[in-house]
């Protein structure tokens, strides 16, 4: 196995090639544009939040590398139908996973399929690619105009 094949797994390549929920939502209740100045990745996340904070619909569009695009795609697929509170807690876990937070425990996490991004932690320059859509999501929920990776 080569150095990069643990990063570019088939699932990631597939979401990159055929991103899910990839459109600009006309009737969103929240949206935000995220930008990673380091590599020029730019995505917008759209949310339609209904009663009880349920994410009724979620989408994204923009341009970026395979990691940022597939991460955004899988995020939208994962969060549709879940609540905003769940989204925030999944973000915390995702962030802890890719930044190799010592307190993170994959077995106890709520990440499901998103665990595939665990390999990103071996590539420090790519962590921001994986988290861009998540930061943008949180900024959209908080009604910020623009998000940047920290």
């Amino acid at each position: 196995m080569s150095y990069s094949s643990d990063l570019y797994q088939q699932v990631i390549l597939d979401h990159n090639r055929k991103p899910r929920n990839f459109f600009a939502m006309e009737d969103s209740t929240h949206h935000c544009e995220g930008y990673n100045p380091l590599c020029g990745d730019k995505i917008t996340v759209y949310l339609k939040v209904g009663n009880g904070g349920v994410i009724e619909d979620i989408s994204f569009n923009g341009s970026g590398c395979a990691i940022s695009k597939s991460s955004a795609s899988m995020m939208t697929a994962f969060l549709k139908g879940k609540t905003i509170d769940t989204a925030k807690s999944v973000f915390e876990s995702f962030h802890a996973m890719v930044t190799d937070d010592p307190g993170f425990d994959q077995a106890k996490s709520n990440l499901g399929k998103l665990a595939i991004f665990e390999g990103v932690r071996e590539y420090p320059s790519r962590i921001k690619c994986a988290t861009l859509s998540w930061h943008t999501l949180i900024s959209a929920i908080d009604d910020k105009k623009e998000a940047q990776t920290e």
Binding site: S2, Y3, S4, S5, L7, Y8, L13, N16, R17, L38, C39, G40, D41, K42, S63, G64, C65, A66, I67, Y123, R126, C129
Partner: protein
């Protein structure tokens, strides 16, 4: 092909042994270092000269009257002559030591620009500038009310010279352009452009950061008023660079930094500045780095800049041929006679992913906007991958580059 008796073949085996980093392993492979445009590797001649200087000759300059300090000062000051003769400057005192090209440009923007450029005056740059040759001028325009004009770049990556001529007028105070583009590799006709700018009454700055390491520079022939470059891109250390300026012009300029070492006389009523180049060198300078830069120049001169140019031209031709054979690859910058920089995009593989895949194969290239966002906008691309070559690279490394790109293309389909 040109036959020139002064051009010798490079003994590549020997040359590669001069650069220790080139034998670093990345996994099973030696690194194929194709990022010399960002920063070049140092030969042992530089590493050892700096070590020797620090071990036996180091002291601060322009201060001590003790012998160690005097000798260090003499070595430091004689570097100006080494650099002057390397770039065809007439006098050592036209060489100002800076921290790098970025600082050199800022020094002109502040020391010359703030003093002489006024509201309504125009500064001309181009579409292919590095941010280092854009942002200082944006800031100057903001402060003074001067106006920035931009020379457009053609599809192949050359200046549109007729558009340039139209931009010039009596309002043009300064033209600041790159000698070699860090993305496109284009070698600009700086001598001709400089003459045009002068006939409009403008001063000229040439950004030689990507030129000085790769070709014979003759500032007297180019006749620019300023010429800037960085030590670390020409096989020397970081932390040192050069501002060449015509002496009578340097004399009219204000310092950017003030403090010790750049004054003639200080009282609490005021200070008088030292003449150039000291006027622009406030504080303790990068002493060992200057020594390292001069060692790099000696190393390059021993090989010969014509020989280096010829070697890099062959490598570029070989690499371009390989990349042109990959149908998905689009090369950005195809000007005739360009320098050995190969920037490219592949629609299905984002540059950031390309860099990671290539790194997996031990091939080190750069992906991103290359501090040239306006140029990315010009080509309508968010980013590009860049292989920038040096004379120490080999055709075998280019074969590995090409194979790794093919692998990325296949993976992303």
């Amino acid at each position: 092909m040109k036959v020139d008796a002064t051009i010798r073949e490079i003994d590549i085996e020997t040359v590669r042994k001069d650069f220790p980093v080139l034998s670093v392993k990345m996994g099973d492979n030696s690194i194929a270092y194709l990022d010399s445009g960002a920063t070049a590797q140092k030969p042992l001649a530089v590493i050892e000269r700096m070590k020797e200087f620090d071990s036996h000759q180091y002291a601060t300059v322009h201060r001590g009257s003790y012998r160690l300090g005097e000798e260090a000062t003499q070595i430091f000051e004689s570097g100006r002559e080494t650099i002057a003769s390397f770039i065809g400057a007439k006098q050592g005192r036209e060489i100002v030591y800076t921290s790098g090209a970025t600082m050199s440009i800022n020094l002109v923007a502040y020391g010359y620009g703030r003093k002489f450029i006024r509201r309504g005056d125009e500064i001309v740059i181009s579409d292919m500038e590095h941010h280092a040759n854009i942002v200082p001028w944006l800031k100057l325009c903001e402060e003074t009310g001067a106006v920035l004009k931009v020379i457009p770049v053609t599809e192949t990556g050359e200046f549109d010279e007729s558009a340039f001529v139209k931009l010039l007028s009596a309002r043009t105070k300064l033209v600041s352009i790159t000698h070699v583009s860090n993305v496109l590799g284009t070698v600009n006709r700086v001598k001709e452009l400089s003459a045009l700018a002068h006939s409009a009454g403008a001063k000229v700055l040439v950004d030689g950061a990507q030129a000085a390491p790769h070709m014979k520079i003759d500032v007297s022939e180019i006749d620019s008023d300023f010429y800037v470059f960085s030590g670390h891109k020409m096989y020397g250390p970081t932390g040192v660079g050069v501002l060449y300026g015509k002496y009578d012009l340097l004399e009219t300029m204000d310092p950017l930094l003030t403090g010790g070492d750049m004054i003639e006389r200080v009282t609490f009523a005021g200070a008088t500045y030292a003449p150039p180049p000291q006027r622009f060198e406030a504080g303790t300078p990068p002493i060992t780095q200057v020594v390292g830069l001069c060692a790099a120049i000696d190393y390059l001169s021993a090989i010969g800049m014509e020989t280096i140019e010829e070697r890099e031209r062959e490598l570029l031709e070989y690499g371009s041929d390989l990349l042109r054979k990959i149908p998905q690859v689009r090369i950005i910058g195809t000007a005739p006679g360009k320098a050995a920089i190969l920037s490219f995009v592949v629609d299905s593989v984002h540059p950031h992913d390309m860099v990671t895949i290539l790194d997996g194969e031990g091939v080190a290239v750069r992906g991103g906007h290359h501090c040239a966002q306006p140029l990315m906008d010009r080509y309508n691309i968010p980013a590009a991958t860049r292989a920038s070559l040096a004379f120490y690279n080999t055709t075998e490394e280019l074969d590995r580059l090409s194979a790794a790109i093919r692998k990325a293309v296949a993976l992303f389909g």
